[in-house]
């Protein structure tokens, strides 16, 4: 049966199956041998068996049986374990056929796994020492590796692919030796450093085979614990530079770096303090890059990415590491011919180089001198993506931008987002889904703006000015998104500055005039006016409200008049006009700082414009609203009150409503509500007489309503209004008069 293993006809996979079947049977054989030995004189002693088995004529069966007997022999302890084991590993040299030899030695390794004179095992002492055990495994490993490498050169050249594939299938057989070494209790850090690693590395270097070197170096990293690697880092990295040129060394260095980065993150106390890991890695990766002329740009950049990852996670404070790495990458790209020389596969690495430090560093990337330079090597689209990532990270972290430099730099980094780039595709081509993306980006940039903050308003003004400069270059599409935050931020800042001015603190004198800030705001909104009049209008109104709160009458007046200008010059659409007027009126109504004259001018203007609206219903509603302008303030603090004008407005509105064909009842009801509003507030000119008249008017027109939904709404509105009156009647006497005569 063991003779079956002599075959040359099987592929490694099939041979492996055969091997498994045979070795299963050999396990039975082992029990039989044990039995024989224990029979004493009646059977054959194990020593006899050991010899008898060697009489077999063919070497493969002979050795498989011998290993099996040897196993029983070791267990019986009738001879030192090491003697038997060394004898077996020595005789195994008779099998020079790579695949068969590999399997035989693998069998030897498996069988002997629990019989090594390891530290603390039952075989130690009489059976040998830890050194013997290590020596045994190392010898077997060395021979297995030799055989494995030999497979590469057997056979015809054209079969090389298939051979290499077969080799890869078998690599685990060789790797198991390393696993066994790592499992040995007797292999502690010192033994590993002094004995095991040098031998293993020697074997790896001497075999000069690419597949073996790649696999074994990687196995060493995976199989042995991380603190061993830390202690032997230099040795290991030194070996990396001695490997064959086709070996993917960068992958080895990268996987080691990743592993150690994770380890250092999890248990930083175990890292020996004198060990400067990063310089070592940097040194060796540079060596690898220099010594290998054919190393691809992709590989170099991948190495840099790994270095950055390592530096960010293990040494987040050492900015110079990251900076140097970025600088190196930039150099490499420059040598390759700048932006044009960047290979397509490398783009993602450049992206990674730029985005990876963000997580751990946040705004400190601004301190990295090489950061911006590296960005220039990307094409527009990728640059934009990086900018977006930067924005997201900075916004997420929420760190404050509190110096002109910071603001400048950050805006520079995000310049693809905030202004058009030379190499961008023409904006005309972008529409549709690009639009959504565009909006997202602008929102992010606006969010960023709000992080600009400094305790001292004067400084913040400067910062805002810097931001303004950057945003100003953004072009028409962008300013609708970027300038409003600027306005609101400035208004808030103005409030702060104003507060400071009011305080008149000797120790902390105000360094900037509020008026200056408001002037700044004015300029910004004006810039918007031409392209986004509605937006500008709202902003002017907002600014006016702010100025009003600070009691700056002139400035507020100026803002309001600008709002009117915008209205007159830019807003021509009827609907927009109506909306604008309503806004203006609403705002005006709340402002309290104006003198009589100014206020008069303004509200007159407002009323005039309301009257000039195109559609009658609009006119009617607007004028009705203007009525509020003439009755501002509360009972305790009355503002402008002119009851005559209130009534005038309402009457006017009524007249217009009369003329509004199809909307009369609707408007009547609304006007009624307005009347009631002023009645409630005790406006003297609004008397019961008018109310009663209007109610009668409505009731007159009610039957003329058709049955549409809109009309139904009107009816409901009227009913609600009547209900409101009835409710009020219970509370306040004057309401009783409304329905008095009717009843």
């Amino acid at each position: 049966m063991t003779g079956e293993l002599r075959t040359s006809n099987l592929s490694p996979k099939n041979y492996y199956e055969l091997y498994m079947d045979v070795t299963n049977e050999l396990r039975e054989m082992e029990l039989f041998f044990e039995d024989e030995d224990s029979k004493g004189d009646a059977g054959h002693s194990i020593e006899e068996l050991y010899e008898n088995v060697q009489h077999a004529g063919n070497i493969i069966p002979r050795l498989y049986l011998l290993v099996t007997v040897g196993s029983v022999y070791v267990k019986s302890k009738k001879a030192p374990a090491k003697d038997i084991l060394f004898d077996l590993v020595e005789l195994s040299r008779g099998v020079q056929h790579p695949m068969r030899g590999l399997f035989l030695r693998y069998y030897l390794l498996q069988i002997s796994r629990d019989k090594l004179p390891d530290a603390g095992s039952e075989y130690e002492g009489f059976g040998g020492t830890v050194k013997d055990a290590i020596e045994f495994v190392l010898q077997n490993f060395g021979e297995m590796n030799k055989l494995w490498v030999r497979m590469q050169h057997q056979g015809a050249v054209r079969d090389r692919q298939r051979r290499e594939k077969e080799r890869r299938n078998l690599r685990q057989l060789v790797g198991t030796s390393l696993v066994r070494l790592s499992q040995m209790d007797g292999v502690d850090l010192d033994t590993y450093k002094e004995v095991v690693l040098p031998r293993v590395l020697e074997q790896i270097v001497n075999c000069k085979d690419v597949i073996a070197q790649e696999y074994l170096m990687d196995s060493v990293i995976q199989v042995f614990p991380d603190d061993y690697h830390l202690a032997t880092l230099e040795t290991f990295l030194g070996t990396c530079s001695q490997l064959q040129s086709k070996v993917n060394v960068k992958q080895i260095i990268i996987s080691l770096m990743d592993r150690l980065a994770d380890y250092a993150k999890q248990s930083p106390q175990n890292v020996p303090s004198g060990l400067e890991m990063f310089p070592l890695f940097h040194q060796y990766s540079s060596k690898v890059i220099q010594s290998n002329q054919h190393i691809s740009q992709e590989d170099v950049l991948q190495l840099q990415v790994s270095l950055i990852k390592f530096a960010s996670s293990v040494y987040p404070d050492r900015l110079e590491y990251i900076d140097n790495t970025l600088g190196f990458a930039a150099q490499v790209l420059e040598k390759a011919g700048g932006k044009a020389g960047v290979e397509p596969g490398c783009v993602k690495y450049i992206r990674q180089l730029l985005t990876m430090p963000l997580e751990s560093l946040g705004l400190r990337i601004l301190k990295l001198t090489n950061y911006g330079g590296l960005m220039t090597y990307l094409e527009y689209y990728d640059r934009k993506n990086v900018s977006v990532k930067i924005l997201e990270a900075v916004v997420f972290i929420g760190e404050k931008l509190d110096s002109v430099d910071k603001v400048d730099q950050i805006f520079q980094y995000i310049s693809p987002v905030i202004k058009d780039q030379e190499d961008a595709k023409s904006a005309d081509g972008d529409d549709g889904d690009d639009d959504f993306e565009f909006q997202q980006e602008q929102h992010l940039s606006a969010q960023l703006f709000h992080q600009i903050y400094h305790d001292e308003p004067a400084v913040q003004v400067q910062l805002y000015a810097t931001a303004r400069q950057h945003y100003g270059r953004g072009g028409v599409r962008r300013i609708q998104h970027s300038l409003p935050p600027l306005v609101f931020g400035s208004l808030a800042l103005a409030a702060r500055a104003h507060e400071k001015e009011q305080k008149r603190d000797e120790d902390d004198p105000p360094k900037v005039k509020t008026k200056k800030i408001l002037g700044f705001v004015h300029e910004i909104i004006s810039a918007l006016a031409q392209h986004y009049p509605e937006l500008a209008l709202r902003l002017f109104l907002q600014a006016a409200a702010a100025a009003d709160a600070m009691q700056y009458e002139d400035i507020a007046y100026e803002f309001l008049s600008q709002a009117f200008v915008v209205y007159e010059e830019e807003i021509s659409d009827s609907k927009a006009q109506f909306a604008a007027i309503v806004l203006i009126v609403a705002t005006l109504q709340t402002l309290g700082c104006f003198s009589e004259d100014n206020y008069d001018t303004l509200i007159t203007k407002a009323t005039q414009h309301s009257a000039k609206l195109l559609k009658k219903p609009d006119q009617c509603r607007a004028i009705a609203q203007c009525a509020s302008l003439f009755w501002t303030g509360t009972d305790e603090e009355p503002g402008h009150r002119d009851e005559k004008r209130v009534l005038q407005c309402l009457q006017r509105a009524l007249t217009i409503a009369n003329g509004a064909i199809g909307h009369q009842v609707h408007l009547f009801v609304e006007i009624l509500n307005r009347y009631l509003y002023f009645f409630d507030r005790d406006c003297p000119s609004i008397t019961v007489k008018y109310l009663k008249g209007l109610i009668a008017l409505i009731q007159e027109h009610m039957p003329n309503l058709d049955n549409s939904d809109v009309s139904e709404m009107v009816r409901i509105h009227y009913r609600n209004t009547i209900t409101h009156i009835q409710v009020k009647q219970a509370v306040s006497e004057k309401y009783l008069a409304i329905t008095e005569d009717e009843e």
Binding site: R6, H55, I59, R93, G94, Q96, R100
Partner: protein, 216 residues
Amino acid sequence: MTESTSYDFEFANALGNGHETYAGDNVRLRYFVRVQISRQYSSNITKTVDFAVQNVVPEPEINNSIKMEVGIEDCLHIEFEYNKSRYSLQDVVIGKIYFLLVRIKIKHMEIVIIKRESTGSGATVYNESSNISKYEIMDGAPVRGESIPVRLFLSPYDLSPTMKNVHNKFSVKYYLNLVLVDEEDRRYFKQQEIQLWRKSLRTLPTSKKSGPTSSK
């Protein structure tokens, strides 16, 4: 003589030459005792009894190892070594084969024990070789610098001691033939004579012959 009578006899130095009983392919060496009773009136009565003679000799004083380098120019150079040149019949041939140059594709390597019986003398010498056993010592192709261990147990095989010029009638010599077979089944070999000697008496489990007599 009318009744059972026993007569002792003794042949002193009968086996002075010290040759063993040997039964080979073409020649036999027998020892027997023949009793002839002469009678006047009728034929003689003869009785022949064979007996075996085993020659146990002491350990040879000089027992050099065999070490030699052989090869074929530009093809194959090996150095082989056997630990002794004289082996007892229960001994183990221990040695190694060291490859100095390998340019052929070797399939396997084996050691063959050859027995050569030469009968006749002078002009009429007839040699016959027979392979006693084939023992594979290597499977697969080695490379330069490999050293393959040899451990060949002689006890399983039916071997006799080396016999030189027995009565000028025959010789029995043994050789170790180291054979390398390449992928095209070509055989490369090196024959080396070894001397076999009997160290101790060999006993059979059931002995048909009368007990062994040592001729010391």
